[in-house]
């Protein structure tokens, strides 16, 4: 049975996968990375266990805490709720790939400046959602920030500083664009 029929047009050639582990190639942070996976492997398992990209966390493994947030084709996604094989032919960005050539994304810098983290375990996921918001909508409001992270859980209670940091990063990014 082909799983490809589930996918957008143009992806049929990806063909069948599994049930035994087989090499899977994904485009992660601009590089094609290949490792063995079986069909039940989630994207977050593949990133962490097969590729060693442990910046992406698992808090609940059921899409309820968003600690596992990555970007798939620039959109935020719960990598614990995405099968690795469904990420073929997609462009995946993880927290490790967010900064470019050593330069932090403005949201990362703002998180540091505003102390928008404590234990830090939810932070990679939070940063991915807030960075995506700022990229998409530099004019975002407090309400937009709250919405963007409404599916994220931070047990330490860093929300107020995340709001401040994200709005500050948005303001910085608007300034950057105006130049």
């Amino acid at each position: 049975m082909s799983v490809a029929t589930q996918h957008p047009p143009g992806r049929e050639q990806l063909g069948t996968f599994g049930p035994e582990p087989q090499p899977l190639s994904l485009l992660v942070n601009g590089e094609v990375r290949t490792a063995l996976a079986d069909p039940a492997t989630t994207l977050v398992e593949f990133l962490r266990d097969a590729l060693g990209l442990t910046g992406t966390k698992i808090g609940c493994d059921r899409g309820a805490c968003s600690a596992c947030t990555v970007w798939i084709d620039g959109e935020v996604a719960a990598s614990c709720m995405t099968l690795a094989l469904d990420a073929r032919e997609r462009n995946i960005t993880t927290i490790e790939g967010l900064s470019r050539e050593g330069e932090l994304h403005p949201v990362q810098q703002a998180f540091i400046d505003h102390d928008a983290l404590q234990c830090g375990f939810c932070t990679p996921g939070m940063v991915m959602s807030c960075a995506q918001l700022v990229n998409r909508n530099p004019d975002c409001t407090l309400d937009d920030v709250k919405t963007a992270i409404s599916g994220h859980l931070c047990r330490c209670g860093t929300y107020p500083n995340i709001f401040k940091a994200t709005l500050a990063a948005a303001a910085a990014s608007r300034k950057g664009q105006a130049k």
Partner: protein
Amino acid sequence: MSADAFEQRSLSAGIVGAAVKQVTRKVPQGEPPPWPANAELQVVGKDVPRMDALDKVTGRARYTFDVQLPGMLYARTLNSTLPHARIKSIDTSRAEKHPGVRAVHVLDRLLMAAELRDPGDEAREPYPIVRFTGQPIAAVAATSARAAEAALALIRVEYEPMPHVTEFEAAIDPGSPPVFPGPTEQQATAGGGGAAKGLPQKGNLRGPSKGGSRGEIERGFKEADVVVEGEYRTQVQTHTPLEPHGVVADWRDEELTIYASTQHVMSVRDEAAEIFKLPKEKIRAISDYTGGGFGAKYGIGNYGTLAIHLSRKARAPVRLVLDRREEHVSVGNRPSTLQRLKIGAKRDGSLTAIELHSFGTGGVAAGAGVGMCHHSMYPCPNVSIEHYDVFTNAGPCAAFRGPGQTQGIFAFEQAIDAVAARLGIDPVAMRDKIDTRDADDVRARAAERRIGAEKIGWSRRRAPGSDAGPIKRGIGMAQSMWPYIVNSYTTCEIRIAGDGTVEAFCGTQDIGTGTRTVFAQVVAEELGLRAEDVRVHVGDSRFPPGPPSGGSRVTSSLTPAARNAAHAAARDIASRVAPLLKAPPDELIFKNGRIERRGDSKTSLGFAEALRRAGIETLVHRADRRDDYEGYARKAGELNISPHAIGGVQFAEVCVDTQTGAVKVERVVAVHDCGRPINPKLVESQILGGVTQGVSYALYEDRRLDAATGVQLNANIDQYKIVGSRETPQIEVHLIELLGGQSSTDARGVAEPANVATAAAIANAFFNATGKRIYTLPMTPANVLAALRAE
């Protein structure tokens, strides 16, 4: 110099900017001179960015969850499906043969639960008796988590079910099934917890403990002009750290290494040493980063014990991290309480009697008390306390941010509010009247009440239930109190290399509170460097002993030792550099990366250059945490409790929809003290966290068990509701700088003080909004509507 030699010193004490006076203290000789107020310091008292923030925002920070070792196996745990049972047999043979499985281990001793005082009360069993659904029984290590999971299904456990009880009301019935067949004890772990020894126990009731009782309670009520009574209930709250409990255990012939998500690497090492009969020096516990703990992450735990056994059997590193269900069920929670509280007061507000009859339900663990607030916060001559722990067939309780006190203050500060309302005294004025002990926290709260009242706009507070429509708004306040704790056995080591590299070591850990950062700031201040010039090393049991990250005691314990070690290093350097600068050593000061003669900035050398020219290769200085200058009110093992507590006052503004029962906390003003704030920004973060968790506790969180099976019905993040971005109120933090003249840094903790008053402040605001008391947490629509219908 003898450690016993003291000298009299004049030190500043009081609230900076308000009331600082000189006090005389008996100070150990060799203590560094007192620091001035923060405004006059270079690094301490400044908002230095968190040192590990870069690693955290880039995903580079390596938690135990992220440790991946060559050949590492993945372990999963088999948990009981029954709430109370004897295990007749366990057959692991099929699991052992499952592809990928490298080791199976059956648990032979259960940690974290209470134990029978007399083991003879129970027939000898081949396996630990199951006392709660979800109790760990065995674990499998395999080459993948999935193989381990599949193998678990092949383990056959033959249970002999026993009658069980999960609900408090049922458990206190003398005819209910006993969770334990005889009296129990709950040992404290290296990180704290435990219960008073030798208390009577009948059925599931362990107690009473009467600590704090005094005077004649009946006389106290006779002398009262007004008596207020209430029955308060609080729910079970689970810690829910984002990183679950877990370890990676790596047993080698020569050494056992344990990577642990923990609040105390030393307790991981010590408990593992005891259980596996290993010398402590053969065990190394490491925690680079811990993804939240909040009181539940101490010691080796059942999961850790299992992982070590598996690693020893498989001769490979084993990763055992709990899944979210296990995290909710088996590794700790805040006990539920029932508090029957009766307070008598004179017309002027002064308290004549406090009577508390309370119960706490910590599942299979004892130690479910309701804190010390009832008997120690406000002076009252007649106090009667009777507390019982109630056992149920449910997962064990553990310390949780302000253990006991958070539950206790919810009841106590509401009762004080109720007394004030009955007497027609303003709640803030009521506290002015009764909060009168001679202690730093009392003086702090007096200032904090003024600040908070002004910031929240207390003067616009109206009579209870003033809003005519169904949406009602109100303001309330409640006070915080938490002991100021100092940990003995805290040692810091400073190593300075000839190239100017400064390293600081302590075997405490940074669980997200900012320990690395405050450690670096204190050392940097003494050496005239920037915080980022100091390389801090924590989270390793091989380092000098450090305090557990619990009880709000890290900063208070660590920073004086750190400062003293750095101070000794600075004086050592000064004596070696003095000839180069042709100045007496005691005239050399460390400032802005340079060593210079006081008042003569031209006579100076850069820090690294001075070390090089003085021919210094390596300097090592160590210092211990000395006792507070005024000593302690109580000592218990390594725990020292100051006669001065930590204060804090919180004000809340709420909105109650009386038709739907929905409560929204719109705003919280949190005014706090923590001695000298080493890093105000990080203190603010702690307070934001304490308030947020307090709102979550007050409004949403509630562990629910199915009484028929003992299964937790909401053991996940989607159904166990916790405050998210949408429910976060506007929180304003105000901090006072309080000098106590007690140690070389005068720093105190704040994590717990920030949490304990929030629910009570919200409840008092609820009363102000609606004119009705909310006696039951959480303030769900059902509980709110019931409260609004009452009377």
